[in-house]
Symmetry: none
Subunit: 223 residues, 2 copies
Amino acid sequence: MRILLVEDDAVLGMAVRDQIVADGHSVDWAQRIADAGDAVLAAAYDLILLDLMLPDGRGLDFLKARRVAGDVTPVIILTARDQISDRIAGLNAGADDYLVKPFDLFELSARIRAVGRRYGGNPNPLVRIGDLDIDLAARTLRRAGKPVRLTAREWALFEAFVQRPNVLLSKAQIEEHLYSFSDEIESNTIEVYVGRLRKKLGPDVIETVRGLGYRLGVPVGAG
Amino acid sequence: MRILLVEDDAVLGMAVRDQIVADGHSVDWAQRIADAGDAVLAAAYDLILLDLMLPDGRGLDFLKARRVAGDVTPVIILTARDQISDRIAGLNAGADDYLVKPFDLFELSARIRAVGRRYGGNPNPLVRIGDLDIDLAARTLRRAGKPVRLTAREWALFEAFVQRPNVLLSKAQIEEHLYSFSDEIESNTIEVYVGRLRKKLGPDVIETVRGLGYRLGVPVGAG
DNA sequence: ACCCACCGTTCAGGTTGCCGTCAGATGGAC
DNA sequence: GTCCATCTGACGGCAACCTGAACGGTGGGT
């Protein structure tokens, strides 16, 4: 899925872009409305992420203009919490969904999938790994058909692995995923949580690479 | 989507109708409440646009009567009176959304889509979960065969869960479902209502996932 | 006009269970 | 065997959650 990100906050933009790419989408980043205003360009995308922090409500004008021009590319609005009126105005202007900053990157993934599903007919966010059935959007997980309950942190960690199967993740990367912009940790918390996940998911799901990190192992043959 | 427009302002009615048709919906236009009062007629529509400019608050009476009669067709209220009391009265009477005239026609389209989204994708309104028999369309509920009576808010909350069984809903999502276009809330209202639902439906129906939200758990085995 | 029942919301206080941490055990690399 | 990274069981603190109660508003009944 090709995504156009219209943003003027560089830091948030990077985080968002990283998450989108991690979900397997491609993304272009338009720092200025003028860039995105090119209808021919924008029409080539499957989804537009629009930041309403842009000055003078030009984001909304952009959105309305696109709708008037008949462009029906789905649009998700990103907006600050204290600008509820903007958000409503955005929906009224034809946005398909919105997210309030600061938002969970997981929630962004869910919304993108939802919009994509609504318009593209991509049905299943379901992942199957071994005897595990995973629905990241619904946060449901079954092991051999039997429901498994994960806590918030366990979900966050598991999510990091599921998004990058077969990729080796260093502890630093995992740490960043769990505690992206807030406090750091100072102990073996990640080891503890990997252990807890193994207890719930089975011992062979997460592989330890001594000295480097961890990796989610996907069986090569038939699952 | 078939839409019934209950209106007495001819000019606005035409504009609205044009916009709706432009959105790909079909619309009928009832100029008098008496016309729409025919429940058999109204029940055939997917959405009702109700103008509260109708004299003597008969629009609200109409709305209430329909709800009492068990008709749950989504209703969007159009009104020029921006008095809060009217708005609250309308929502209390069972309206799903609210628009103050004069409104942007894009706004109307957005609301129509939102309401349609909320009620769409529910071909079979009859649901059985555990010992609960649920009819979302009729808003009737039985627990072990015995009728259970829910208030409006309780229904709204329960509906959010039933529409997405086994899916974890964050408090933000639930809030959005309950208070989509009106003001947000500032306390533990959702927790209180979850508690009330559990008291009426049984303690195991709604599962708490600490830090993430709630989930309606459907038994895996025989339901 | 008055009273009463009910609903939605808020608040305060009690309770729970997750999170992060630590210490000791385990096991691979050399 | 030694070193060191990782594993594991256990624990305290605290935020998230639950619950009973109260309050204002609305509507129905008399």
